[in-house]
Every structure is written in structure tokens, then in C-alpha cells.
């Protein structure tokens, strides 16, 4: 090691050759991955942006230049509007709900308790099962004659539910009014474990001395959480919220698995991505579909920026 780093006369040329070899090795190793990234990722969005300003023939490609017409068309399309409304509604409810659950679980699991690993493992498991499996299970449980309705009947909760306007065999995922809320609860159930893992990582990043100081000041458990832990988790909140919002705005799997490509019942599960899918593959309007994709990208991108502004530009520790 010392021999290599000792400067020797006449070695400069050799070192230059070494640097060139190193650079060549570097390019050789990144060539294939970078080609894939550039074509399939960066190339894809540029291509989508290009398609979005054309009337596009599926065989021959660009047919007629439309400028921003596809975008204008989207903004005036009632189904697009309801897709935006549904997607935003889902995100606005689902993200805070799942964050609260995840934080709650993380704080409990982070304590000195027996079976910590077991509980952490159990809470995380739904996150790693496939969305198709989870959706199928919940469609079964929430069907009019499913476990949920049976159990609330057996527990004598039906009078309460009928006060809220639901009869004994309410079809939770098949009814226009409740389908989206069903998906929200389903996905909160699935994802709370993931958010717990994120929060655990940021909880463990809080230095011990902080709690010691709080304890010396005589702060109780709740005060410590409210005034010390919660504010110090800010990078964690930012990270989890960003991941959540990006994921929420892309809701697709569960919407299709439950309501098929039409976003049934009555467009209540029509999300932005699902509408993009419909425009592309059902109505075969590529230009229009691409425009919807670009709008989605802009929405996600600005949501992330706003998020960053709210959390005062503090960098997430986990990424």
C-alpha cells in the first residue's frame, strides 16, 4: 500500500495509463445499465411527452400535430376530472391514515417488549404479499355475505350500521358510496407495516441523549412523544409522506383488481392511472393517454416539491 502511494519519478505516464484504464473499466461496467436507464426510463418520458402533442396512429405513429389540444381535452373531460378527484381523495385520506398507523406501530414496537421481532414481522407481512392476493382476500371478506358482515351481525352491531345507512348485507366494494373507502382501508391495512419500518429507522436515528434530557426535565411519556419524538421525526415524516403521496397518486392495482378496467362501480374507482390505461388500450388514443401521463407526472412532481417546502427542505435521512 505504501509502495503504491510513494511518488516515483517516471511514473506519471504510467499513472495516466492507469487512470485511463480505470475510466474504461468504469464505462464498460455502467454501459449496459445506463443504456437501459436512458432508453427505458428517461427516453420513455421524453417519448411520452412527444406522443402527447400528436394525434397518434398506432401503426404509423405521428399523424397530426395537435399542440396542447390533448391537454385541453383532458381538462374538459368529466371522467378525467372524476379520476383526478378520486385519486386526490384517496391520497388525502390514505396517506395521513397510514402514516398515523405506521407511527403508532413503530412507537409501540420500539419499546422494550417481548416478541418484538415477531410483532414487527407480523405487521410487515401484508406489505410483501401480492396486491392480487390481498385484494382477493378483501373482496371475499367484504362481500355482502362475507366475514365482515357476518361478524358485525354476530356481535350485534347491525343497529349501529343501519343508523349509518348500511343494511346487513352491504356490498362494501360494490357500492358506489363505499368502494373507495374500502380500498383506502384495505391499503392502509397493507401498507401500515411498511410505514412502520420507515418510522422505526428514523426513531432509531434519534440520539439517546435527547430522551435523557427530556427525562431530566421531568417530561412524561406523552409530553416526550409530543414535544421531543414527534418533532425530531420530521425527516421521517417527510420521507414517509413523500413515498405515500407518490404511491397514492399512482393507485392502480387495487382499483383494477376490484373494479376491473372500468373503475366500477360507476367510476368510483376510476383513478388517474386507470384512466390512462383506458385511454391507451381500450379507446386506443395514444396521444391523449400520453397527455394524461404527463399531467400525472406534473402532479406527482409538484406534490413532492410542495412537500419539501412544507418540511422546510430538510433532507430525509433514510434515502
Amino acid at each position: 500500500m505504501t509502495a503504491a502511494s510513494t511518488p516515483r519519478p517516471g511514473k506519471v505516464a504510467a499513472r495516466r495509463v492507469g487512470a485511463r484504464q480505470e475510466a474504461l473499466a468504469g464505462y464498460a461496467l455502467v454501459a449496459v445499465p445506463m443504456l437501459l436507464f436512458l432508453v427505458l426510463n428517461i427516453g420513455s418520458i421524453l417519448y411520452a411527452a412527444f406522443i402527447s402533442v400528436w394525434r397518434w396512429n398506432i401503426r404509423t405513429g405521428p399523424q397530426q400535430f395537435l399542440g396542447l389540444d390533448n391537454y385541453v381535452k383532458a381538462l374538459n373531460d368529466p371522467i378525467f376530472q372524476s379520476a383526478v378527484t378520486n385519486t386526490v381523495y384517496y391520497t388525502v385520506i390514505w396517506v395521513p391514515l397510514t402514516m398515523a398507523l405506521g407511527l403508532f406501530l413503530a412507537v409501540i414496537v420500539n419499546q422494550k417488549i417481548r416478541g418484538k421481532t415477531f410483532f414487527r414481522g407480523a405487521f410487515y407481512f401484508p406489505s410483501i404479499a401480492s396486491s392480487a392476493a390481498i385484494s382477493t382476500i378483501w373482496i371475499f371478506i367484504l362481500n355482502p355475505f362475507g366475514l365482515f358482515n357476518e361478524v358485525r351481525g354476530a356481535l350485534g352491531l347491525n343497529p349501529l350500521f343501519s343508523l349509518l345507512g348500511y343494511d346487513a348485507n352491504q356490498d362494501w366494494l360494490g357500492d358506489y358510496h363505499t368502494a373507495m373507502n374500502g380500498v383506502i382501508i384495505l391499503n392502509a391495512w397493507t401498507t401500515s407495516g411498511t410505514f412502520m419500518i420507515f418510522y422505526l429507522a428514523s426513531l432509531q436515528a434519534i440520539p439517546h441523549e435527547v430522551y435523557e434530557a427530556a427525562a431530566i426535565d421531568g417530561a412524561g411519556a406523552w409530553d416526550t412523544f409530543r414535544r421531543v419524538t414527534f418533532p425530531l421525526l420530521r425527516p421521517g415524516h417527510f420521507f414517509v409522506a413523500t413515498v405515500g403521496i407518490i404511491g397514492g397518486l399512482q393507485l392502480f392495482d387495487q382499483a383494477v383488481q376490484i373494479g376491473n378496467v372500468d373503475g366500477a362501480p360507476a367510476n368510483s374507482l376510476m383513478t388517474l392511472v386507470l384512466y390512462l390505461y383506458n385511454a391507451a388500450f381500450k379507446r386506443v388514443q395514444y396521444g391523449y393517454a400520453a397527455a394524461i401521463g404527463v399531467v400525472l407526472f406534473v402532479i406527482i412532481f409538484s406534490a413532492t416539491l410542495i412537500q419539501r417546502r412544507i418540511f422546510e427542505g430538510r433532507e430525509p435521512t433514510t434515502a
Binding site: A3, F37, I45, G121, A122, A132, S135, T136, V256, Q257
Partner: protein
Amino acid sequence: MHNSPQMPAQRDETAAPETTGSSMSSRAVVAAGGGDAGLAAALPATRVQPSVTVVGDTSHVWRRRLAYFFLIGYALLMFVPFAWTVITSFKTLEDSVRLTLIPQPVTTAAWDYALFQLHPNVAQMFFNSFIVAIAVTLTNVVLGSFAGYAFARLRFPGRNLLFLLVLATLMIPDQLRMLPIYIITNALGLGKGPLQLASIVLVLAISATSVFLLRQYFLTIPKDLEEAARIDGAGHFTTFLRVMLPLASPAIAAVTILQFQGTWNGFFWPFVLIRDQNLWTLPLGLTEFRLVGGFGTNWPPLMATVVLATVPILILYLFFQRYFVEGIAASGVKG
């Protein structure tokens, strides 16, 4: 070392905040630990620790009970749907909508149906899922460690810009790529026959998460090992293959688990890119059977299929839980 005498003091403080006496004494311990952090100060403090923990146990019983109450409650909430799925798979259709814990009668008819009577059959879907998941995992490990190593250890012009581009792809939603990828893979002739599976592999061949995870790991490996190999006359590729790659096995394991699980469960790309029934992966088949395959409410075989699709992941999870958690916590972004 400076911290160790303070730790028990802190525990003592949180253990009994109600009594001012103990808080006074703990403050004294902190002062002693902070002022004179000799070995003598550390020793009595560590000896105090066990008894203090016992005090903590008794005064916080209610909080613990509450914690266990929520933990067990939530664990049940996680467990019951899966248990109900397994139970239902052994029921008859009439029995499947009844609230019976033990199937009456217990039957394997649903399993028979799910295993032998589906079109395409489950074995075919298993095979499709498996091929795609293995291929995607392999490409991610190979290409990810190539790029990860280069970005971590080799100097070449444009390195930072290229790495920034890789990270930027994390901002691109898969769904936005749906249409362009569909057009591109068709143009490449990947839209027909078994090549549809290849198109999925192509799209998922490398993820920024894999590159990122491996790069971060390579950065932590001490440079001495590499330099020693270099002095022995090894070239960059030999050093990478013989020295660095074996050292990166924990990161490779995390990428393997993350990619296999993600691809095995993947719904979006198969849904967009696969048109032939006999190429369906398990999640796609599960969804299509219910939506268009005519067994929309034939719950028992549907639940048996859910079990079949979930068990491989459950087994992986039981053995490699650590890597699942590490992968997701380190990346935070689904690959």
C-alpha cells in the same frame, strides 16, 4: 465509554418519574458520570442497572399492558384475514359464506379445482412467475453490482452526472412509462408469444434501487483490500469479481430478495404487457380468473389460489426476514 455511566441513570429517571427522590439521585449519578468518567464511576452505575430495570417493570405495568393489548390486537387484525383464507380453501361453496371456524364438511375439492382444473393451470402460472422473477433478479444483481461498483469505486469523467440520472429515474412513475414501453417492446418484436415474458424482464432488468443499494454497500468496504489486490497485479475486473463481489454478498442478498419478491408479486407490467392466457403470471391469473374467468364468487378455489400465490413469499420471508426489512428500510422505494 463516557456514555456508559449515564445510561442507567436515564433508565432510572424514566422508570420512576413520580418520585422526586429518585429523580434527585439520578441527577446526581449523571453529574458524577459527566464530571468524573473514570472506571470507578462506571462500575457502581452498571451494578445498579438490574434492580433499576425491575423498578421500571413494576411502575410501568399499565403502559406495557396497553402496548401488548394494541400489539396483539393489531397482530390479530393482520392474521385473521390470512387464516380465514386458509380455512375457506377447505370449505364447500355453501359453507364459505358461513361464520364457521371449522369447515363443515372439511373438503379438498377446492384444492383439487385450483390445482388441476384451472385453464391455464396453476403449474403453468407458477412456472411463468418463477421464470420472470428469477430472470429479473439475476439481471438486477449482475447489472446492479456492475454499476454499483463503478459508481462507488472507479473514477471516470461524467460519473456523478450518470449517477444523478440513475437516481432521477426514481422520480419517474412506472405508470407514465406504460404507453412508451408498450410501443417500444412491440417495436422490438417482444409483443408476440413467450417473448411477452421477455418484455417484462427487459422493463424490470435494472432498477435504480438495486444500483443504489449496491453502490452504498461498496462504499463501506475498506479500500485496503482493493489496493492489496491491485498490487498483486490484478486488473479492475479481476479485483471486482474476486475481491469486491464476494464482500458485497449481504447487499446482493438484499437486492435478490427485494427483486424476487417484487417481481413475483408484480401485477402492473404483466397486466399491461401480457396478452396470451398461457403466459399469465400468478397475480395476473388470480385477478383475471375473478374478473373475467367466471369464478367471481367461487370463493374456496379462489382462496386456495391465493394461498398458492402467497406461500412461496411467506417461506422466503420466514427465512430471510432480515433482508426484506433491510432492503425496504435502506431503499424506501419499491424497485
